[in-house]
Symmetry: C2
Subunit: 282 residues, 2 copies
Amino acid sequence: MTTANSSRETILNLRYGEQTKPHKLLWNEQIAALLQHRSVRNYLPDALPDGALESMVAAAQSASTSSNLHQWSVVAVTDPVLKAQIADLASGKKKDANGFIKRAPAVLLWVADLSRNNRITCEAGADTKVHDYLDAFVMATVDAALASQNAVVAAESMGLGVVYIGAMRNQAKALAALINLPQHSFVTFGLVVGRPANNPEKPETVRPRPPQEVVLHHNRYDAARSMQALDAYETEFHKFREGLGMGHWTWKDSVVYSNKFEYMDGRENLRHTVVERGFKLL
Amino acid sequence: MTTANSSRETILNLRYGEQTKPHKLLWNEQIAALLQHRSVRNYLPDALPDGALESMVAAAQSASTSSNLHQWSVVAVTDPVLKAQIADLASGKKKDANGFIKRAPAVLLWVADLSRNNRITCEAGADTKVHDYLDAFVMATVDAALASQNAVVAAESMGLGVVYIGAMRNQAKALAALINLPQHSFVTFGLVVGRPANNPEKPETVRPRPPQEVVLHHNRYDAARSMQALDAYETEFHKFREGLGMGHWTWKDSVVYSNKFEYMDGRENLRHTVVERGFKLL
């Protein structure tokens, strides 16, 4: 595991392994902190420290929000009964796959939220037609994501661990009902937060990423260069999985697996749910 | 303007003004840095420092990505001719509204990108049906947003300024063609980056946010409490605009204005464009 004092070399080795590393890189404590992110699924049951949630929300609010419209909300679930119900909704067919949500002290549900502004516009007697377009859905979704990522950076600075839960969209309709979401809003994803258990038998490490050439393009998109740069990642990813005793898979194998329909486990109904909840996606 | 050494009180006053501030708040340098974010639209023409882009991308790659699928890309546009064309696309009817993009050294186009994984899945002879669902569109959009927000935090730590440009969706079709985007991808938003000009006559300050009660809910969504907490923001927002000589508007006025149809300026075609680009949004 890396620490606050880990060297640049150690950090870059965990993030890129033996692949080509970005050769010129500005470095400071902030960059070092961001590069050391890892997802945590093993939590101590301790409640969040006093003020931690408020700091995360202040950080979230400080992120940019499209046209200063604040089209997001966050529902912080700490009630154990409710949290267990939510864990079950997110686990779906994979029984207790997200059972760690029950043991963690909190799960934050990040909401793409047009509801406030829809109501304000209605009350002013104006037309809310703009909210019927796909663009409004994207605006609110992006707002929620920018806010949550700032909250993640804040949480990690306080020694907390987090993991995003996209499976909160598996049973989007039931989840919205459970937490009384108003129309024109939906839970975009969840974020579990708590103190990492740091179980030495189940270490949760930084995951290797592909070389920068896979995602970074200059001036125009270069698909051939991006695909070519993935070759190195195949080897690196395979090595990482083997190290964790996870079996012989390359990254491309995992991509193909993720596209199996049964992996959706309810998410195929997302469109139906959000339309029912007032988004028209025109 | 705040500095790295600004006090907690100064920072919270800029962020929340005279509204109720979160009374218990854990504080450290990271939280202070996040809370001091401001959007910058006034740039020096200097090129990005060597290695700054690579650090931003390393930070972006270190963000969580749904199921480790890396369904995002970023196109860094620094070519002046291309950058000017992009600025014009984003300005649309509001002639040169985003003209500052021309003067800044770079605009990063954040792409929700299923193209790589679609190709990998096709090449493996497997079904790409999962990509036809709204959920895949959301996954890629969220991936792009989490990555970009980490890049923003990295950029600001290097003394750079940024501003998000949602207007990159106004002419989504033309923009995709201009930068050779492959099918199954679209530009979710842009991010201008460069050294802030810090023009004393046009100071770019931290914008006040509503009290936390507006966006933060405990266990279940409480619409009444959220709407009530907005009252304080009406006054605060009005005061902020008056301070900048921007005229008599409350926040709710700005919400109603943002819902005027002409404000979309092409974004009403987003659905048409993304469907044409291979997303089915089922």
